[in-house]
Assembly symmetry: C2
Homo-oligomer: 679 residues x 2
């Protein structure tokens, strides 16, 4: 909207307009709602939020809404106080509670990878915006801990005068505390943000030093953070059966049956993807993942109490939920747990993902606790046939922008580099995003695109910024790890490609990574096999050369949900969850040469039953979802076996046969060449 289109509506005019449209909402409520909207991410559809006010707003109403939102944004944007002041505020709250320290983790109360603005206390307090970290505030000292991915970012974003910037495994918070508080002390933590598993480990580590962990049912940062945003508000909408494949009633009945069998009356659900899956709903409270932040209690009769801000629940969703899903005020959660406790109910809660607040509250009220994994997670991981069909469709659709992007790069990158107007990492990421948008189906990216060239590719979780934005340069590898959220699925794909000629070593190591990726992808395995059992298949050729990579080989992927989900995982870390039909996992070995280049090749695979003649065991294997060519320019044929060549050729043929028809002629010609048999 441009400034000339009309002057802002007055308050009176606005209320009148709302009334004309059948919306009974006080101005205060509308403003509070807009603050919530502003605390949620914008997303691909900048008007989606208007569903919170009206199911079918008139264009005029939409214009007014947008205008109001813009005004509210300006009104709300306050300069943050300096770090010293923020720290002083937290320290004042500590003093009031007679605490010597306080933990400020990155996590929110859902232990999410993405947290809403309101919960990003770590960023507010320290300036650090990385996705993993924890700060510790003491009276005279403070420190922030993150991992190797973020060493540089910590240095750039966090003021060393206020915070020691430390590596979380080299100098863990507990060790630092023991050193700083040699005579013991009382250190507080917010019980909503720390799980029993985490607290248990801290208690064990701190006990020898006489340091007492003090559970707090509020957060000291919140007291100091005057302009803390409200909880995010985004429309919670139905995830229709054509995508979900199974009704919420059916899912709840199955889980309830299992609860009953285990003698439990109820299960506490704190993971937003569990609730989204169980209720067949999607939201937009955090970026990149279509969550609706809320809590729930599932009962052994299949009924569910959903503790959610009712403003988020769109009429369309409300119509699908049915009577046995009871909308409850978020503030009623504690009392509901007390009620379970009062009748001595046995309640399941997940010590690995739920805040210890739940366990303390339930135990205090008299409930019997059943410590067990969130029961939705495994059920959700095993996609039903409708979801599998959806994700196959999604991947065919998402292959088009990716292949168009690869063709564009091949045509442009060297020429642009030579002309002195190189493509940059940022431009490339934007280009790919735009091409995905052109599908007309993109709901969001599934994560911030990793678009990296040269040494930036060796930084495992690199995200390009204005400061680091590097031109695509001849002789370097360009690595792009990206994905989209679509109603029928979630994609995640990595390709690495040479800009012009690269070194012999680079091609050799590309081929070693590829050989591992192929070995894992073609492996069949008996039912019962876990991801940790097959992880080494992807590393064997790198290991043979004395090389390795320091991340997992594969993570679970949701169905229009989180791009990282459990409980399965292909990794060195032991994992007891067997791979099961319908599970989607990534297959993404890599190799990273610090300061030089990074290689990663990633497909998503869905686990399928294999009906092989002569098999003696129930057999599983992978069907590759991702459709995009490997880069033949850096495949060293002399390092491949005949089996590997045939595997690449068959895959490439499939890519062309499936995607070629959806491309224009130029791109189709490019793809035909890129997918020609190797020999």
């Amino acid at each position: 909207m441009t400034a000339g289109e009309g002057s802002p509506a007055s308050d009176a005019e606005l209320v009148e307009l709302l009334r004309q449209n059948g919306i009974v909402l006080e101005l205060d409520d509308l403003e509070a709602l807009l603050d919530g909207v502003l605390a949620a991410p914008e997303g691909e559809d900048s008007l989606a939020w208007t569903a919170l006010v009206s199911e079918n707003p008139s264009p005029e109403l939409v214009r007014v809404f947008q205008d109001l939102k813009a005004r509210r944004r300006s009104a709300g944007s306050k300069k943050r106080p300096p770090i010293a002041e923020r720290l002083a505020g937290v320290r004042a709250a500590m003093a009031e509670r007679e605490l010597d320290g306080f933990f400020v983790p990155r996590a929110d109360e859902h232990q999410g990878e993405y947290v809403p603005k309101r919960a990003d206390r770590l960023a507010w307090l320290t300036g650090f915006t990385g996705s993993a970290g924890i700060a510790l505030v003491l009276e005279e000292a403070a420190a922030i801990f993150s991992d190797g991915r973020y060493t540089l970012q910590l240095e750039q974003q966090v003021d060393g005068a206020h915070f020691e910037r430390l590596h979380v495994t080299e100098q863990p918070p507990a060790e630092w505390l023991l050193e700083k508080l040699p005579n013991g002390g009382r250190v507080g933590y917010d019980t909503m943000l720390h799980t029993p598993t985490q607290v248990e480990a801290l208690i064990q580590a701190l006990a020898p030093g006489g340091i007492e962990l003090v559970p707090l049912d509020d957060n000291l940062v919140d007291h100091a953070w005057s302009a803390q945003p409200p909880a995010p508000l985004s429309p919670a909408i139905p995830h229709p059966l054509e995508f979900a494949g199974r009704s919420s009633e059916d899912k709840r009945a199955a889980l309830a049956d299992d609860l009953a069998k285990r003698g439990a009356e109820a299960a506490v659900l704190t993971l937003p993807d569990s609730i989204a899956w169980l209720l067949n709903l999607r939201g937009a409270d955090v970026p990149r993942t279509p969550f609706c932040l809320s809590f729930a209690v599932l009962h052994a009769d299949g009924a569910l109490d959903w503790f959610v801000d009712k403003r988020k629940v769109t009429p369309a969703l409300a119509r699908t939920l049915g009577n046995s899903v009871r909308l409850q005020d978020p503030d009623a959660l504690g009392a509901a747990l007390d009620g379970l406790g009062a009748r001595g109910a046995k309640v399941l809660a997940d010590p690995g993902s739920a805040g210890i607040w739940f366990f303390r509250r339930l135990a205090a009220a008299g409930a019997k606790l059943l410590y067990a994994p969130d029961p939705c997670q495994l059920a959700k991981a095993c996609k039903n046939p409708v979801e599998v069909a959806g994700t196959k469709r999604t991947h065919e659709r998402d292959a088009v922008p990716l292949i168009r992007f690869l063709a564009w790069l091949d045509r442009e990158a060297c020429a642009r580099a030579d002309s002195g107007n190189p493509i940059t990492e940022m431009e490339a990421a934007d280009k790919l995003h735009g091409l995905r948008r052109e599908t007309g189906k993109l709901r969001d990216l599934s994560f911030d695109t990793i678009s990296s060239v040269g040494p930036n590719g060796a930084l495992n979780h690199y995200r390009v910024t204005e400061e680091t934005n590097r031109p695509l340069t001849r002789g370097e590898f360009y690595l792009v790890d990206s994905g989209g959220q679509y109603s029928d699925g979630t994609t995640d794909v990595t390709r690495t490609l040479p800009i012009g000629e690269v070194s012999v070593e680079m091609a050799e190591r590309y081929t070693l990574v590829l050989k591992g990726h192929l070995a894992l992808g073609r492996q069949r395995f008996p039912k019962g096999t876990t991801g940790s059992q097959i992880d080494a298949l992807a590393r064997q050729y790198l290991w043979q050369a004395g090389l390795d990579f320091d991340h997992g080989t594969g993570h679970g992927v949701g169905s229009f949900l989180s791009v990282h989900e459990g409980p399965q995982r292909i990794s060195k870390v032991p994992n007891s969850i067997a791979l099961q039909p319908g599970m989607i996992v990534s297959n993404e070995p890599g190799y990273y040469k610090p300061g030089a280049y990074g290689i990663r090749i990633e497909n998503l695979e869905v686990v399928e039953e294999i009906d092989l003649p002569g098999r003696e065991r129930p057999l599983l294997g992978f069907h590759t979802l991702t459709l995009a060519p490997y880069d033949r320019r850096v495949i060293r044929l002399d390092l491949l076996t005949g089996e590997e060549q045939a595997q690449i050729d068959a895959y490439h043929a499939r890519v062309f046969a499936t995607v070629g028809q959806h491309l224009d002629e130029a791109d189709r010609t490019w793809l035909a060449a890129a997918t020609q048999p190797l020999a």
Copy 2:
């Protein structure tokens, strides 16, 4: 000795003869000692036991000893009462304690794979002689549980009228108990024979049914077993530094240091191989493993209390032990633990291997328990350079009888089969044993030879008996898994070979097993890698064909100690112990077609550091210890990659170069042909 050589000495003559030889021993003591000797296995050297009486007995004295032993054996051999009577005895003891049931596990108080005759309560009570099982005796019912290996043996050895014969995982003891005691009850167990880990699992499983586990500090079977043998007596002798490579003082000092660092004053040692390793001693109390059964308490100052029957401690050993190893009466063990408790000491004990008796006694006395793995196990697993050199020597020596055996089979098996006088499994096992004896260095077999042909090969832990003894028949696979104990090491090797022509399928599956064995054997891996991470490398080709095998791929192997040792393991089961230089592991994938044939190929490998140019990680790999050809007649060349062919050829060349020179001409010619390059 033949009957005519002399009449048995009278008691008076005997005492006189002993006195003449400077041995002051009452007749009663001598008889008790002989009973102990008879309760130990005989071993390769049937006179070794005489070291218990005299360091250098005269030939005459030896003759008398042997005579006495024979007399004592006849006197001691009583017919066992019928099963019903044995069961009645146990039930009477149960009634006295007001128990509804009693557990009779196979385990002894050292959780050993081999148990002494005295501790083989399960065999006495039920007749079952397998190496894994547990019985449960109730007032009106009884059951025995074992695993799939022993289904047939259970049926053959155990009377179904007295015992239900059950599969331990299909119908676990706890489930059976819950079913038989629907109203709850009291079930006793011997605290020496069950570890805290085992008891904890049972308590958890039984609690819902109101079944109480009652700890007993004695064993009800012992009350019923009137002719129970005494504890075994065999000479405990030094394991000299030339084989051990490291002094006991040094080992104890290192472990003591570690104990002190963990704030512990002492560690309880219950595993006989731990004590053998730590004190550099060997014994012969059980078959196949040169153990001396005893307990020990290691103190944080490096001193050790050794609770052992002093009659076992030979003067030669006593001279090596030094002052800080204090010989204690076995009966003094409880009081020693009480002493630790009385001063509130922190004591390490291994809940996975020590009887719960230790934990209960220590806790009752006031000790603080440190639950941790037996500290000797990991240290022992990492062989020092002297031990590694020893095991290499052992394997070169042991290769000679094995290759002579393979050559003999190749020359004889078909001819004998055709002549109607086939070689049998038993004859083959005896032949191999005899050839090993001819090395002049064999101390014992390292386990009972698995010599199996045709369908018997498909039985994983088959041991030939008179009843099952099968002739080596054309068209079948012969599988031989065997090993020897030598002063400088322990061997364990499996080869599978065709008798005449075998089917295409058999050769194909032999080749799949071999490919997995080769893949594992040649794999390099970064420091920190565990055996469970690389297990799938040995299975990948079988899996690809829908096949698998139901045992671990590799176990640790001792240095003139147990042929199965931990803590490392190559297996599907997650194991957190990284493979480390000096560890010896078996590499033994297999394939078993029930009712038809079995294939297993096993080498021992020692983990070594690999100094590969360009490596970016500390790198480890395997050096193959075992030296014996694979069977080229059943290797399907068309299924091998060039890398695999080269690997086999290089190994075969090494086998010939190393062992050929120690063979006579006929066998050398045979080996030359068997180790020719494949192509």
